[in-house]
Point group: D2
Chain length 307, copies 4
């Protein structure tokens, strides 16, 4: 149960089987930091190329294909006072006939007060003069493990390995499960958002550099197919694909598999429960792969198998 | 401000320009009832053909194309103790390769206690023996106004006129706005659910007959394009289409229009706000047209123009 | 085998259970005409409201739900010298980020010479000065039968009943099969195009009024699910839906059913054949429901059951 | 203008910035061979891991980001007498409710006679006893260049770099253009099909190892965005994505750009032409990214700028 401190010196814009920066054991924690989506650090200095640069990868000793790692997000905090966002909704998220009515976007800056827990537009436009500071809700946009088959997948997108899911439920206190595809799993993380709406419809949250502490647990011989997660109240499964319909298919199927394997519900009983109780959250509808999350309250579930 | 009581004797399985059953004035309330999706009334007797039979239409005096009606759902309550649901998730909501693992569904019956606010499977399968009664959350699945152009649209589906949206946010206390396409608007309603998960993924909620009281207000010269809604905390816009991506486009565009016309936000300021604060709810991913709802907290909005 | 001549006096902008204009027997032919998509007749005079106005409906004696009608398009000819089209591709058919680069469209006029078989832009823009006359290939954009369940479906869209499919394969010489949903089938037709590219990507073909002769044959007790067609070389099935993926699913499934029922191929043998030999044509990607057509060469098929 | 002969000894299952196997100059030709999709060579011996193993990559001297390479497929011939295919259409290509009616697929073997140009099922099932030999039409399923950003993309899928497009138009005599993303372009090729229907709906063509001769020409300072192609009669642009609608958007946009840059047509004139004359071909609707090809006849186009 070692607690590592790691200061990154190089970053990756694709998640793949890169040289590990640190080897850790199951149960270990790591405190590190991530640059923002444009490669800017806690001093707002661009130290690496833009595009969700990743800290890592971290090699988890003993992890092998067919296993799963559980990454607990212990602490996530913006580590500088200035964030930024895009100002206009992406054109594929409004009616095609409405695009001509939309202006070209620009970059907005926000003052982020991590102690007060607020974000404030630096230069409020006239229409938003009365807007009170937004409560922040820090989340990780892009994180995951090396994909299978010798692939290296751009941090612009996501798939079974995680990646750029941009789901606001990935906040402090959540545990995220990733299937292991390569020896050591090779966990990467980056792309902090001080806050983000559902869908990441302007293509950004309030983008900012982060201090992050996480703890990894290795679960041997637990083959999962898609990222899963849980917090105090819910279990969740994640589908990353296009269009949104396919995200829902992946997340729902993965939930059926989980409910069967760990909660003893066959497809029909799981359907009965989910039919009346499931919740779906829209992670993002901006990135090359979209993200939908299926969620069910733990209070509704039967006794769970230990992992 | 008359309060009408209306007992239906005939029902419609398409929403269209049918003969009105009652003419009401703006501000009037109506207490009536709806059969369940299979045409069964409060005695569980099938009195009309299945397929979300609609009570109505109600003619709103003075309503004309270019207006909007506001329907406040004052009270919605199951009026019998027995509901039903399907037992298996629809095959297009799981991975195509998983369909062979899914059983054929059947009809489940539920004991619904409207006073206690619970629903209990009548014959719990072994895996769900420990399932506690589900809290109910009554909602209307299918309601809306006559569509334009001489159309009559099946109650299986939905569009700009409303229809079978199957959104669990359409519960007691909400106000739903519909564009008026024909003289009198011709409001229809039916398809009560004691409770329903996001997406209506088994193709039903817990289907049951309802007593409903609603109040209609006519808003002249307010042209809306899609159903909108509000409750105590949020304003909402509704997109009905396929695939889900297109629902998101419709709901987001309609929200931009609303924020501009009634809250004075141009597309860029509205984008700034929505980008960090919007919520999307999945109504249904079962019907021929799916439903996504965009939602934003009233607490975040500027002063609103009176309608 | 009567040959009727019918001159329409009223038109419909929704396909539904309207009063028949003529009752015909199986085997009968009808010579009639259709206004163009904007309601303009052979004199280019607007005689009815725009939106693919339909001639008909024609009642086929003896047709009942569970039957199929075969409509042979004997002759289709533009009956005036002037057609029109839109000048710009619809915004949802290009990349969302490219929409700002597209101009707003306008109406172009074309000189259509039905004898020479050519269409020529009346006012060629500088870039198209060298464009030779386009060969015409007349087709019907919107035709079909009354849908089930008391529906009346806008001529903007299409479904199992046919409707606005905008498929350039629906030309002279083709036989189109429609499922019968109501007594008499109630066949409607309209929306002639002198020529149209795949996808109807500008939202129009070269729109023009038509003289049409068709022959209807009633096939009792042949329940089909979607429009089908055949010409000298191919059999075809039609899927109308959104997105295109779903059109492909409908057309492919209907082809599997046809190959099984009339050609004796089970799903696996049909798959073997289609896997290496199927062709898909894109009807339209413009209308509310898109259209994809699955096609297979008759020369590859086993002996066919007589209908 | 050297003609190289190259015998591969190792293969790649992801297209990326691998060590080049040969460096060639613009204008050079290469004669080589490719294993089939399961890694089997001309002796039907599995010599590498399955999954569309690629021969190459070939480094084109002088190629740099911002350039385009033109790959002419001079000669493509099955080099063994036995091919194979899957026997059942993939479940996402039929209606979800029809999947339960479909059997599980198996592997079929075909006798391929490259001289006679035919493919014959080795063990015809009863229903296909009368099926005559299918004419073969050899094509490359998966080929392309190293993608940008340090990515390595699985040969299961496709994107802007090409990859597993499975388009039957990529046959002998075609020239395919790829954007250059890395120094040397790094051209890979594999996955020969003796024949394949539109959509690759059973997930395979008739898969077989190939002898291939190709010639590469480097076109400096011609930045393209997606694969393009041309044959004697048509120019083509390729969109690889999901769903099919998005493929159409990519292919259509790329065609507009090509028509503008090389043929002098602005978006409106190009729209006028394409609206009445464009053709779309369905490459595949099986792989993680689908493929649609936009095509227009050279005979309709204005004078072309030399490249």
């Amino acid at each position: 149960m070692t607690h590592h401190r790691f200061a990154p010196t190089r970053f990756h814009n694709a998640i793949g089987s890169h040289e590990p920066v640190l080897r850790i054991a199951s149960g270990d924690s790591v405190s590190t930091w991530c640059v923002d989506a444009r490669g800017r650090d806690s001093h707002d200095v661009e130290i690496t190329a833009r595009g969700n640069p990743q800290t890592g990868p971290f090699y988890i000793e003993g992890a092998a294909p067919g296993d799963t790692i559980a990454v607990h997000l212990d602490r996530m905090r913006p580590n500088r006072p200035r964030g930024w966002s895009n100002s206009v909704i992406a054109p594929w998220i409004v009616d095609a006939g409405f695009v001509h009515s939309m202006p070209r976007g620009k970059l907005d800056e926000w003052d982020v007060d991590a102690t007060a827990g607020t974000a404030t537009l630096r230069v409020p436009s006239p229409g938003l003069q009365s807007l009170r500071p937004l409560p922040i809700d820090p989340m990780l946009g892009c994180f995951g493990v090396a994909p299978p088959g010798g692939q290296a997948i751009s941090t612009a997108t996501s798939s079974t390995h995680g990646g750029n899911m941009d789901y606001r439920g990935f906040r402090e206190g959540v545990t995220v499960y990733f299937p292991v595809f390569v020896e050591g799993a090779l966990f990467h993380l980056g792309d902090g958002h001080a806050v983000q709406g559902d869908g990441e419809i302007v293509g950004t949250g309030i983008e900012i550099s982060f201090d992050v502490t996480f703890t990894v647990r290795l679960i041997k011989d637990w083959a999962t197919n898609w990222p899963r997660a849980e917090n105090a109240t819910d279990i969740m499964t994640v589908g990353n694909a296009r269009p949104l319909d396919q995200c829902v298919q992946h997340a729902t199927t993965e939930m059926l598999i989980w409910l069967h394997e760990d909660f003893g519900l066959d497809s029909e009983d799981a359907s009965r429960l989910l039919g009346q109780c499931i919740r779906y959250d829209l992670g993002n509808i901006f990135d090359p792969a979209y993200t939908m999350v299926a969620r069910v309250a733990k209070s509704l579930l039967p006794t769970r198998m230990a992992r």
